[in-house]
């Protein structure tokens, strides 16, 4: 400080260690992921991290911002990890690179860099990939297809064309397509493709990490609790109304990116609301949109779009939910 003023003492939290703890909290989910699906996801994460760092470095240079401080704040890494975890692990390398570049350069730095991006960068990267390469982005690894590191590397470099049966639809996707043929949902839900327990275990890993984040006070309870609660309530409600058309709540809570979103994606502070009431409303809105997109929309999974839409509403939400000041009526 050039004009030194109080306070002269400071707490120990910093952006870089908050982001570091977030990455730590992702590790249980990541390990379970690798246990069931091989090292494909690790390759994606490493590539996304490298891409993010390089992109961040060059864009900081171009914007004439001190690079050291901003490279070590770990925010680019968190974006890269979240994006890589959202992309199918059998996506070829260039998918990861394009997504990461888009997230860092356009979604983050074109809006002013750390602290100024109005959209969640990882979700923008994901949405762009989903729109541009739907065929790749909607194929998930078939868990029965256990493959070794060589295959994983080959898939990473050249895509999945050489390997038959490696990819299948995600449970959300499968159920959605089946329902389009006017079938009853109950038998569909009992099909093996709709009961991807391995994916559910990964979700459990993220839940563990999320509880760790709550415990270390990196995030507050508002967002994840309200998000999961809303999703639970809406899905239960629809299921009660027509069990033959709507899946029960466990299907929605355990599949797709629900857990990752609850604790890691919607909790991005920069693009989210700041007031407690605002957080509650924000989480509610996202859960509502996720359910609507999943059940009535054109895409099997709606987290990215729900988050991006809710991001747009953040300034309004913040404005309308200003808490009462001490002693004010």
């Amino acid at each position: 400080m050039i004009n030194l003023q109080s306070p002269f003492v400071q707490g120990s939290t910093s952006v870089s260690n908050i982001m570091f703890i977030v990455m730590l909290a992702l590790i249980p989910g990541l390990i379970i992921y690798m246990y069931f699906f091989g090292i494909g996801i690790l390759l994606n994460i490493i590539l996304a991290s490298i891409t993010a760092i390089i992109a961040e470095y060059f864009i900081l240079k171009i914007r004439k911002i001190p690079t050291k401080v901003f490279l070590t704040d770990n925010t680019a890494l968190v974006t890269a990890w979240l994006l890589a975890l959202s992309i199918p692990s059998i996506a070829p390398w260039w998918i990861t690179v394009i997504g990461t570049l888009f997230a860092i350069i356009i979604a983050k730095h074109f809006y002013g860099g750390i602290g100024s991006n109005i959209f969640n960068p990882a979700m923008i990267g994901y949405a762009i990939l989903l729109i541009s390469f739907p065929a790749i982005m909607t194929k998930w690894q078939n868990p029965s297809y256990l493959y070794d590191a060589n295959i994983a590397f080959s898939v990473f470099m050249h895509g999945i064309d050489n390997y038959d049966g490696i990819a299948s639809a995600t449970p959300l996707d499968y159920v959605k397509t089946e329902l389009l043929q006017n079938k009853n949902i109950l038998p569909i839900l009992n099909e093996p493709l709709a009961r991807l327990t391995q994916m559910q275990w990964v979700g459990f890993g993220f839940l563990l990490g999320g509880i760790f984040l709550l415990f270390t006070k990196i995030i507050t309870w508002h967002l994840p609790v309200i998000y999961l609660l809303t999703l639970f309530t809406i899905s239960s409600l629809f299921h009660l109304i027509d069990p033959s058309q709507f899946a029960p709540f466990q299907f929605h809570l355990l599949n797709g990116g629900t857990m990752l979103a609850a604790f890691f994606i919607i909790t991005d502070p920069v693009s989210g609301p700041t007031t407690p009431k605002g957080k509650i409303f924000f989480a509610f809105l996202i859960a509502l949109l996720v359910y609507l997109i999943r059940v009535f929309g054109g895409y099997p999974e709606g987290i990215a779009f729900a988050v991006i839409f809710a991001n747009i509403c953040v300034p309004l939400i913040d404005n309308l939910t200003q808490p009462k000041v001490f002693g004010h009526d």
Partner: protein
């Protein structure tokens, strides 16, 4: 005596390292009479005190040397006997670091008191007590230096008070002057509380203290065993529990908004040191001339001192053994709300509760400042329940109106937001800046209004004069011929020319 009353909890606050034990190991110490006493006329909130002495005057200890200028001001007394040797601008302990008017006394070494008279407060009534308090120079000794007689004034206006709260929370890290006072002057303090209790005519007195001052708690509990109307309430050690409105909430559950006084709610609050000062004044007729100051931090022998106002700080630092790591940087007040002293060459003042010899970490270039990531940790920490991240945004971009709309002036500048900010943003500094700007803008606006009024008044006057002149001229024209008129004008012109010549001549002489 009640012990475990319900304590309310305010939003946020922080649990910083208290570092209080640094300065509590040794008893309060007095130092010998210094060679010079320098008393600034600005030691309190409000107007500068008005000088009542001249250079060369002999003064006695406790003699009034500057009186309160109006109601929002405080008197200043000689803190020892001696001779006034200078009245000039000197450096004062003020965040501006700018010099201000000071009275220098060269002590005669006799330390001779003026005649002291106890105040027969029971006979003279509250009004008169108040008047005398205005002359006593007593201000809030917790650090804010708000003139005490004003508080009493407010209490009187608000009608019946029911509670006296004694602020013994002392929540800022490092500061221990109140703690040591409570340990060493327990009896006197309780006498003081009883006295103020009676003067204010309240039903109960509550001492609010943080749970980290175990010795003081024990002493006070022992001392108030027999007192029916005085209770001790222990509050958790969370900064800023010592802030008046926070402490009232902690103890009484009443949230007093900005702009309202506690006396409007039947509550009056004094700091323990202020209580003692009032006691000494009423019981012994001693005006405010000394206080206890914590001298702590990066020093060889940190401790508390009882010091006369005007004592040069340098002598005390030397007495405390000097700095361990030399950096010549000292902080007045606590590390959360204090300010860096412009120099060590300043005197002890009424607002000086603590001097921290700066630890190296306090002044070194801190961690880099990153943009706000909107994590709202500041909002979670804010004891006033503001949204600091919004205030920061508006203050930084100088949208002052918006900042005010988001209740900038409710901010108590406690520094909790800066403390917790993971981006290391000096949030409070932005709020101080924004408040300063707004206050100046308001002042300018008022000045402009005055100027407008005066201008309009003048225009009216000119208009009126013009009319009058026209009337007069018309009258004169009727009376006198034009010849006489030109003669008159010529005479006037000549007078001006003469004056000009005279000036020029004088100028030449001067050159």
């Amino acid at each position: 005596m009640k012990l475990f009353d319900k304590v309310f909890k305010f939003n946020g606050g922080i649990r910083a390292e208290t570092k209080k034990n640094i300065s509590t190991a040794q008893p309060i110490r007095k130092i010998p009479l210094p060679k010079k006493i320098v008393l600034p006329l600005r030691q309190h909130i409000g107007k500068l005190a008005k000088l009542k002495v001249d250079i060369g005057d002999e003064v006695l200890k406790g003699q009034l040397i500057a009186e309160a200028d109006g109601n929002v001001s405080a008197a200043i007394h000689a803190s020892t006997s001696g001779k006034i040797t200078a009245i000039e601008k000197r450096l004062i302990p003020h965040p501006s670091g700018l010099p201000d008017f000071c009275i220098e006394i060269s002590p005669d070494g006799k330390d001779q008191w003026i005649e002291k008279k106890a105040i027969p407060w029971k006979k003279i009534g509250l009004d008169k007590v108040n008047e005398l308090l205005l002359e006593s120079g007593i201000v809030g000794l917790g650090g804010a230096a708000f003139p005490t007689h004003l508080k009493l004034n407010n209490s009187k206006k608000a009608g019946a008070l029911n509670t006296l709260i004694v602020n013994a929370a002392e929540c800022e890290p490092y500061i221990t002057c109140d703690d040591m006072l409570m340990r060493e002057k327990t009896h006197e303090l309780i006498q003081g509380i009883k006295l103020v209790h009676e003067i204010l005519n309240v039903k109960e007195s509550v001492i609010g203290i943080e749970d980290n001052k175990t010795d003081a708690i024990n002493f006070i509990q022992h001392a108030i065993k027999k007192e029916k109307n005085i209770s001790l309430q222990i509050v958790p050690t969370i900064y800023p529990s010592g802030d008046a409105k926070r402490l009232i909430y902690l103890l009484k559950g009443i949230k007093i908004p900005k702009g309202r006084r506690s006396s409007d709610y039947g509550i009056q609050m004094f700091n323990v040191a202020t209580i003692l000062a009032i006691y000494r004044f009423i019981e012994f007729g001693e005006p405010s001339i000394s206080r206890i100051v914590t001298i702590t931090g990066n020093l060889k022998s940190p401790r508390n001192y009882e010091l006369l106002f005007g004592t040069p700080l340098k002598e005390i630092i030397d007495d405390a053994g000097g700095q361990i790591i030399k950096n010549d940087t000292f902080i007045m007040g606590g590390p959360m709300m204090g300010f860096k002293l412009p120099s060590i060459d300043v005197p002890v003042t009424k607002a000086m509760n603590c001097i921290i010899s700066s630890e190296p970490a306090m002044i070194e270039e801190k961690k880099p400042v990153l943009p706000c990531i909107r994590c709202a940790r500041c909002a979670e920490a804010c004891p006033v329940e503001l949204q600091p991240q919004e205030l920061f945004w508006f203050s930084k971009s100088k949208q002052l109106e918006k900042a005010e709309e988001y209740n900038l002036f409710d901010c108590i500048e406690c520094g909790c937001c800066s403390y917790v900010c993971p981006s290391n943003i000096p949030l409070v500094q932005y709020y101080r800046f924004a408040k300063s700007e707004i206050i100046e803008e308001r002042h300018e606006y008022e000045q402009a209004n005055i100027a407008r009024e005066r201008n309009e008044f003048r225009l009216q006057r000119l208009e009126r004069e013009k009319l009058e002149r026209a009337e007069r001229n018309a009258l004169r024209r009727a009376q006198s011929s034009s010849e006489e008129k030109t003669k008159l004008i010529d005479e006037k012109r000549k007078a001006i020319a003469d004056a000009m010549q005279r000036i020029e001549k004088e100028d030449d002489k001067n050159d």
